[in-house]
Symmetry: D2
Subunit: 469 residues, 4 copies
């Protein structure tokens, strides 16, 4: 409504405009702020923050929150940085209060339940309450998500802002709790302003134009679902594109082919999640992907009882980079001479088909044995799906022969299988022991590779044992 | 949808039912819990709580949360108390972690920003995260509101649960933040399941039946608005009933009279808020009333530009009780001999009209001078409206001549005026100095009373000065 | 929207009000009508009708139609009758045009296709176009339905209005064509303004109050559906109440019992249509009942695959009246001495249970043999369901022991079975040969009765033969 | 829903499918039609038509109507023509019945009210009832609109189908009565499947792509509205595009310029209807354009009280063609030597700016004096707007400099002014006397032209007089 008023779609009666002006001017008067100053906007931001926190009660809370958020959006980068930095220090915890709270706690006067509470309250950075009050403004949640986007961009060069970011994540996790998310199908009857965001945010297989989009939404064997939040109207938070097929697909090309023949939905036995995209940079680290996939699996299973298999067709974004790094490592456990030769031939313009065996075996090694220091797989997409309880089902040589696909993974794509009755066990094995649950075929591809190197000792005996057990 | 399935409105395909069963059974298996045991349900609640917190990742978080909430709803009171008590201790802060965090903080190793964060995290009761995860379940928010209702009922006899309640309030305040609330008009086209809640929850002037309800919703000079939360579908959180009139009314009877003549909305100059009711006991202390009134004032002002006056017609629930207490106080500053006589005559069956002057003067004293130790007025309704920035506008003798009205306030009703351009100033005067902003007429009623007592010294000189200045 | 403006819910900007006034006044000016006259309102109606028809084009059609309909609603009965009579004559067919058209047709000049068209056009009463143009006004359809309600009330005393009514039926049948009707479930989330109409219009088993209504809508084993028309917003045209049960019920009492135990919807095997009510008197004779039942059968079958039996529990409104008439007929073929005695005993306060056999046999005769001159059954409800293709399934002695039930049918109720695969054949047998399709049990009850009378010859041999063939 | 089932979006339970099959097969069985025959599909159509009409009652009406419409859509052109021809003869009026009805009417037995009715009924072509019954099928209205589209395409070569078309228009006019149309704003939140129709159907200024579309819908100073019919879901019937401006625009280019600066809606004083497009060929001749414009004027006036001027920016599609025809007419009253020279210079590649005066004067003549035999202006767009009661306000030289614009009208565009308080008078002047209501400026342009030709007598003295009076 307010947006409508601002855009002029609705005529705000003078009375109402007067009200808003009054509140805002009065807010400024109270703070000793002169309107429309060019200088000192950054000081305003901090002052407005103090005003928002200090005011007893909330008579003008909404108006002040609105002013602060609007001023931040208008501000230039240095001013924004200054405000975010003030969140780190000025609006950090009150050290004096903490010292007192610790002392009281350590004296354990009067039973310590309330002391603990007091300590927790004292240790809470003031910015948490500030952010909660900013959320009072109409459109506040959306503005705060954008504010964090700004923060994330600054974070690398300003690591001292990390605690601020942690608090954003903490609060967002509470507000974007699964319980508050709404799943909605996206199809060709969805409104254009949402669809253009689908086009813009698709991160895996770019959508060329509206025809391409329609080709992914309108045929009877295509589906798309997104999570929405009541406060971010018309803003999908994450979406997944689904193809309904008769078998597990090994390549993305045929799925996206505009001239393919669609099948009737009830003929399909397999639902293929071929693209999952987050849309809000400002919500990075607030995870809804696993909820989305599980919810969609449930909804599809209910709608189409013939569906028996739920599977992804996923890219392998880190594969080629990892291979390149291994090639430079002289004593790479992953790359033997034969593989090295095959890859060299490829670089010399050789036929990729010749390298099929080498690449597939290398991929098996990449998924099952290449680990981060944390013990988790190197591949980020693998960590996501395995962490959700999926199983690595199949390696698809030349699944994505596009330039991008060749460059990032030698054209490799993989399927992760979501077998509902195994999800929890898989998840636990992965979460607690780092076990990569994989199909026999994938494991066999690794064993073939390893045995071919015969006597070369594996540096990852442990994880290997897990896999082959 | 799940509710539909449970109620049998939608047939859950076997597949899906299997999924839910699998997750639940598996959850139980993991925990070593045997299904359908009669004993030890309380232990289950705590175990489920631990499971919900300990599980790395969230593969079964939703299912466990659902099980715990369902088990709590089924549990008998002793088991519920036991679980809530475990929230107070078992799921309280981790003391060992706190000691370590305090020590680390006090050593101030490695810069103390992160140490502070660690301290805050350590001091956070584990129940906070537990409650956040319970909110993952479908319908979780609603279940948690009911859980707190149970908690509130136990609180008086179990003050040790107070910290648990504080955490509920803290989290609910974040989730029921103004930014997440949706204002909706309630009228005769509203669905019956919502309307029956309006009937049930009306706390000020009881709604007798559906005809009475219609009389408050359908005429063109009547309005009703409620706040809803996306997670509590079809559950109004708070609602206000409004009459559109040509003048500030002094009595509730004519407003609710079924035989009155309605006027056209655009003829009205005055919007009268004659009833405000909260509906969710479990949300006590999470305040939305002030937002509701201000939003309704804005919306009405936009819709009906002829409206110039926004005013309440409010009960004075504490008046008669306060008078009775003062009567017992021999040296009451409020009650002089004449007043005492007038009230005695009333008790002897005298005509109330005779006591008009005495009661009105006494009421002026009650509002302007009778204070709590905190310096705020004794009257709870007054605290609410004055705290919102309204002004005490008029004392209405015999505004509510019903038995209830006579009993609680000698029939007195009052109007609080919401003048938007004064709201913030009024609010500040009240919040910072306890000033009761009142119309000249009300203040004059007090002065008349005080001067009539001539030489009797006032024990509240300070606040008097404030008022008369 | 216009209704909102009129009721004052929306402030009509002066501009718009001006527009409406201008059009209306101008309309009056053109017609030489002075505003607000008390006399001659009836003349205005006819003049407005002529204006609506004569105006070339439609510049003010909407405004004139609106004026005419509003004037009709305001008019007193004599004026209304006068206008409706003018529809019969003044706005009847143009005789002169007809004579010319007949002459042209009979000369068959220039091929007769166009002559036929001209004849048809000439023979069309002018009121048809008038009614079509009245439908241009906002809310026009609704006003016309009310106008016909007035017409129907006058028809008995003014049979000359019959052709007018025929044209209403003709046009309404086109506008309320099945294709334009929308089926909507009615439940406890339906808006109160619709539900109060359900209460008001329920014609079979009166709904006492809102609790009774809820008892019919909210339990999981209850359903209600209504047809709506886009132009009659919030006005159900016809609705059916459905109980989901585990067997075919024989009595209405247990179905409506507020203390009964509800079952889950998916447990039910049988859907019972226990009440069907039309709501708009003005749409009498425009039939949607058969579409409603068939649509509901389809929708329920889709939603609840366990439902195998679709059946009514219906009153027998004409039974007692018919029995009384037969009792007075000395040589009644239906009533033998034994039956006569049983009924006499009943009249003397005898136990109805004693009369079970007599009444059941008599009912079998009533349904299977008592016919109108048209050859159709005497019972109106039977004609409706049999005409829809249902089968008379069961006679339920004491199915409705209420005072009303006892009075109209000695407590008898019956079930009509809708077996989808038999509907068409049943319908044809009934429509073309008058055959009452009935279950063996019902037919047996008749045979028992007839054979008991042994040698008494039946005066309805033909229809009997049909039944037993 | 049925569409969903057919497309496979919803799994039709076997039961339901069985029902549909049963009905359809049974329908075929009754008719002696074998399923899936290749030959004789055309005969089927007629047989199905007879079945639909002859069946007493409606047990299978919906199924038969559905079969007939589906068969028609599948049929090849010869079969379709055959069926449409059968509508003209076989399903024409029943001549025998007509002869009897005429005879009865002429005998005037028994009062002639009912005879007239009988005559009207007899003269009604049987196809009218057939078409009404076809409308019973789900989606029937939509199918019938497409059927008429087929009919219109055949009409030129088969004039004998004209009476069939007349009946379609008659019935559609009743079903698409203003009272049944719903106005909806079209904007960037409208669903894509509707928006793509806006792109496809825009007939005046083609929409290039989705960006172009957005440029016409999303800016705060742009609006679009369409009429919808409840039976043609998601199918706009007609739509108008509106620009909000500060003055009456003279050229289309700046309005559609993607780089222009938008203004706030409440700043606008003028609403410009710059494109009106019908979408359904099958509804040609069923007019809603005038209702659309008037409704949009009302809605905009309500929403934006600052709007004072409602005007079109319209093409002049017939202008250049008319000029070319006049050029060939030696004694053209419209074209004098000077004009002839100016146009010749233009043809030789001369600067159009030189021809401004000649073209403007010629245009004034074109609008004010060039008439059809009916006395109406030659220009179709002018007939539409003048017929609606608009005034020809301004001639805009080079209003549309696109190739299309230059070709059809030498770049000329015009504004028609909708002044609500004058609409009715203008409409009447035009409808009854053919008067072209025009602004003084336009009339002056004509006078200038005429006086420049001095003594040349006008062949249209009458209409000239009207104009200058």
């Amino acid at each position: 409504m307010l947006n409508d008023i601002r855009s002029g779609r609705i005529a705000a009666p003078e009375f109402l405009q007067g009200l808003i002006d009054t509140l805002t001017q009065r807010g400024r008067a109270v703070l000793g702020i002169k309107p429309d100053r060019d200088v000192g906007e950054d000081r305003d931001l901090e002052l407005l923050g103090e005003a928002l926190l200090s005011r007893r009660g909330e008579a003008s809370g909404v108006a002040i929150a609105q002013s602060l958020l609007a001023a931040f959006e208008r501000a230039a980068e240095p001013q924004r940085l200054k405000f975010l930095s003030s969140l780190a220090d000025r609006f950090g915890p009150d050290r004096h209060a903490i010292e007192l709270a610790i002392a009281a706690y350590q004296r354990k006067e009067g039973g310590d339940g309330s002391k603990l509470e007091a300590l927790h309250a004292a240790a809470e950075p003031r910015r948490q309450e500030l952010i909660r009050r900013l959320n009072l403004a109409p459109g506040g949640t959306s503005s705060l998500v954008r504010m964090r986007e700004v923060l994330l961009a600054l974070l690398r060069e300003h690591p001292e802002l990390q605690p601020v970011d942690d608090d954003f994540v903490h609060l967002f996790s509470s507000w974007f709790n699964r319980g508050f998310l709404v799943l909605r199908p996206i199809d060709w009857t969805t409104s254009a302003n949402i669809l253009e965001k689908i086009i813009r945010y698709e991160a895996v297989h770019a959508i060329q134009d509206w025809d391409d989009l329609r080709n992914r939404l309108e045929p009877p064997d295509r589906r798309c679902y997104a999570f929405f939040h009541p406060q971010l109207v018309d803003e999908p938070l994450i979406f997944v594109e689904v193809a309904l097929t008769k078998e597990i697909p090994g390549a993305i090309g045929p799925l996206l082919d505009k001239s393919r023949e669609a099948i009737a939905a009830h003929e399909a036995t397999t639902a293929v999640f071929y693209s999952i995209s987050n849309t809000q940079k400002g919500l990075a680290g607030v995870s809804f992907g696993n909820f989305l996939i599980k919810q969609v699996v449930q909804d599809l299973a209910r709608e189409l009882p013939n569906l028996k298999t739920f599977v992804t067709l996923s890219p392998v974004p880190g594969f080629a980079g990892w291979v390149r790094r291994e090639l430079k490592t002289e004593a790479s456990a992953a790359i033997d001479e034969e593989t090295r030769r095959a890859l060299a031939a490829l670089d010399d313009g050789g036929d990729i088909a010749q390298a099929k065996e080498a690449i597939t075996a290398l991929a098996a090694y990449y998924f099952l044995k290449a680990k981060l220091p944390s013990g988790k797989p190197v591949d980020a997409v693998a960590r996501f799906h395995l962490g959700n309880g999926a199983r690595l089902e199949r390696l698809n040589f030349l699944g994505d022969a596009s330039a991008k696909g060749m460059k990032q993974s030698y054209g490799l794509m993989v399927n992760y299988l979501y077998a509902l009755e195994r999800i929890e066990a898989n998840h636990e094995a992965f979460a607690e022991h780092g076990t990569v649950v994989a199909s026999d075929k994938v494991k066999k591809a690794l064993r073939a590779k390893l045995s071919s190197r015969d006597l070369v000792p594996s540096p990852h005996t442990n994880s290997q044992r897990k896999i082959s057990s």
